[in-house]
């Protein structure tokens, strides 16, 4: 099984991945609380980016409403914990289930009725907004006044109830990111992965080769939704409060897809590189502003926006593919050409 997974990955890439993993493992030993929280954010975005990438990067379905699954996942596990004291490890079953159902409904409607391209993207936004306003009125989880989890106990790490220190959350997120990376790697090399990429490149040709396009598109949406909802569970227990305005908001959807787009859509390493780059860029800009004594709110976002602009203008396939070529890691980097 493991041997199969490693097949086709160049040795240099493997070594680089190993080194990166080692670095991430020992990072908390040296990091301040601040760097640890930044590290958590990076891994969080790498994970959701990876999940989104399944749908867009692999299967070519542009979703701009992934906050829907983050929010559903977060609320489902949190509500079960608060109302019934159910451990999030059991509750995440509900999270995954609810997110999968939502994804399946959206996918079914869209793919059955031939909603594609821009229209599909807007449909995903509509679903997320619908959920946001709905949860504003959902009194079982306190509606818009916010859903609070009992405060975390920081002295002991209770992994079973996800109550614990940021370090615990960091390692949890790291484990999830690694698992997502391996899972995506395996998926991409499976029958499903081949079919997804075929659908992404040309749905008509894929169908003529016996691929049940509807079924595999559905699979992409549902798997992506399920994975994304897991990030929502961690979000809920890390922040201990949920507001529909925050978690279902379209700005969260956008935030979580910037990483994979900047990193390199359809590649395995792209979401990680993108999350690292964007979070690092945002934090670095804040530092730079601080050091320059610029105290004007908004200036940082202007520069951040300009950086995004430059990247997307000059690196149409994201940062990773050219970087991988440069480092001689091309095979592991995955490829994606202009459609």
């Amino acid at each position: 099984m493991i041997a199969r997974l490693l097949e086709g990955v160049p040795r240099r890439g493997l070594a680089a991945l190993g080194a990166l993993l080692l670095l991430l493992l020992v990072f908390p030993a040296f990091a301040s609380g601040y760097l640890l929280s930044v590290g958590f954010l990076i891994l969080h975005f790498a994970f959701v980016g990876q999940a989104w990438n399944i749908m867009m990067g692999f299967a070519g379905q542009l979703s701009l409403g992934h906050s829907l699954y983050v929010g559903l996942g977060a609320y489902a596990a949190a509500a079960l914990y608060v109302h019934f004291g159910i451990s999030p490890w059991i509750g995440l079953g509900a999270s995954v289930g609810v997110a999968m159902i939502a994804g399946a409904v959206l996918g079914f409607l869209a793919f059955r009725f031939g909603v594609a391209g821009v229209y599909f993207a807007i449909l995903t936004i509509a679903f997320a907004e619908f959920a946001r306003i709905g949860f504003d009125h959902f009194s079982w989880v306190q509606g818009s006044s916010g859903f609070f989890l009992p405060v975390a106990n920081y002295t002991t790490n209770d992994l079973w109830n996800l109550r614990g220190s940021p370090k615990m959350f960091y390692y949890l997120m790291l484990a999830m990111s690694v698992a997502a990376f391996v899972a995506c790697h395996a998926l991409l090399r499976s029958r499903m992965g081949y079919y997804w990429q075929a659908i992404r490149e040309s749905p008509e040709a894929a169908q003529a080769l016996g691929v049940n396009v509807f079924r595999y598109k559905m699979a992409a949406v549902v798997i992506s939704a399920a994975m994304t909802s897991l990030a929502g569970v961690v979000f809920a227990f890390y922040y201990n409060n949920l507001f529909p305005e925050q978690i279902f908001h379209i700005s969260r959807s956008i935030e979580l897809i910037l990483g994979p787009i900047i990193g390199g859509i359809g590649t395995l390493v792209g979401p990680l590189v993108g999350a690292l780059l964007l979070t690092g860029l945002a934090e670095g800009m804040r530092e730079a502003m601080l050091q320059l004594g610029v105290e004007v709110p908004g200036v940082k976002q202007v520069f951040y926006g300009i950086c995004l602009l430059l990247v997307v203008m000059f690196l149409p396939h994201g940062v990773w593919p050219p970087l991988a070529r440069h480092l001689g890691l091309e095979r592991g980097a995955g490829r994606r050409e202009e459609r």
Binding site: R189, S190, R191, Y194, Y195, Q197, A198, R200, E201, S202, E204, A205, A206, Q207, A208, L209, G210, V211, N212, V213, G266, R335, R336, E337, E338, R339
Partner: protein, 242 residues
């Protein structure tokens, strides 16, 4: 010979425009049949109805006795029909090998055996040296070959070829003809081909069906068809490469 494919009185209109009108023909098992006709005669529409891209407005299509009209393309493919597209549709972002592997996965249990099968087909079609190139990097003749390779990888019993020789040089064309003849002989694949290159049709087809304005105006052996006055008339002024 029993019929592998039986098309009976199929019709199709687009926005009131009749593309195919009551076309009927048969493709016997193990044979090679050519579908010819001037541009806009409804050949590709016929193909699309057989392959399941859209259902016929009227009429029936039977594959080995099973009625398949109205099926989805992937179901038709799974039933044993492989097809190529007139305007090639390669998976541009994938390598040549990966392109063909997608087809081979239909009848393989796992990815590695599909890859093995894909490799064999690439060799057969002379694409072996290019297996690791991106499909987008191929020349047009190679893309045409890739179309055929992908369709073959699904191990069809009936192969629908939509102008795969167009744009090929005569020598390349002859190579292709040889490949199809070999496939037909050694593996017993039945072939229905749309072709403008008459040189290829004449060389390959045992039977020819002529479409004009969506109707079948003649069918028979190549010799019979070229002597048919109706066919000659319909082709008058058309480019013919005999």
């Amino acid at each position: 010979m029993s019929a592998r494919l039986e098309v009976s009185a199929i019709s199709k209109s687009f926005r009131g425009l009749r593309a195919v009108q009551g076309a009927s023909f048969e493709v016997p098992a193990g044979s090679i049949v050519g579908l010819i006709g001037p541009n806009g005669a409804g050949k590709t529409t016929c193909f699309n109805m057989i392959a399941g891209v859209f259902p016929p407005d009227a009429g029936e299509v039977h594959l080995e006795g099973r009625r398949i009209d109205g099926w989805r393309p992937d179901q038709v493919c799974a039933a044993g029909v492989g097809r190529t597209f007139q305007i090639v549709k390669p998976f541009s972002g994938l390598t040549v090998l990966e392109n063909v592997t997608v087809g081979a996965l239909l009848r393989s249990n796992d990815v590695s055996s599909a890859q093995k099968r894909a490799d064999e087909i690439l060799e057969k079609l002379g694409l072996g040296p290019k297996r690791d190139l991106l499909a987008s990097a191929l020349t047009l003749p190679d893309r045409k070959r890739l179309e055929v390779a992908r369709a073959l990888a699904t191990q069809p019993r009936l192969l629908l070829l939509d102008e795969v020789m167009a744009g090929l040089r005569p020598t390349e064309c002859d190579q292709m003809v040889a490949v199809f003849r070999e496939l037909n002989r050694a593996e017993g694949i039945t072939i229905l081909l749309i072709e403008h290159v008459m040189r290829a049709v004449m060389a390959l087809a045992q039977r020819i069906v002529v479409l004009h304005h969506g109707e079948v105006i003649a069918q028979g052996t190549p010799e019979e068809v070229v002597r048919d006055p109706a066919v000659l008339e319909s082709y008058l002024g058309e480019e013919t490469e005999i």
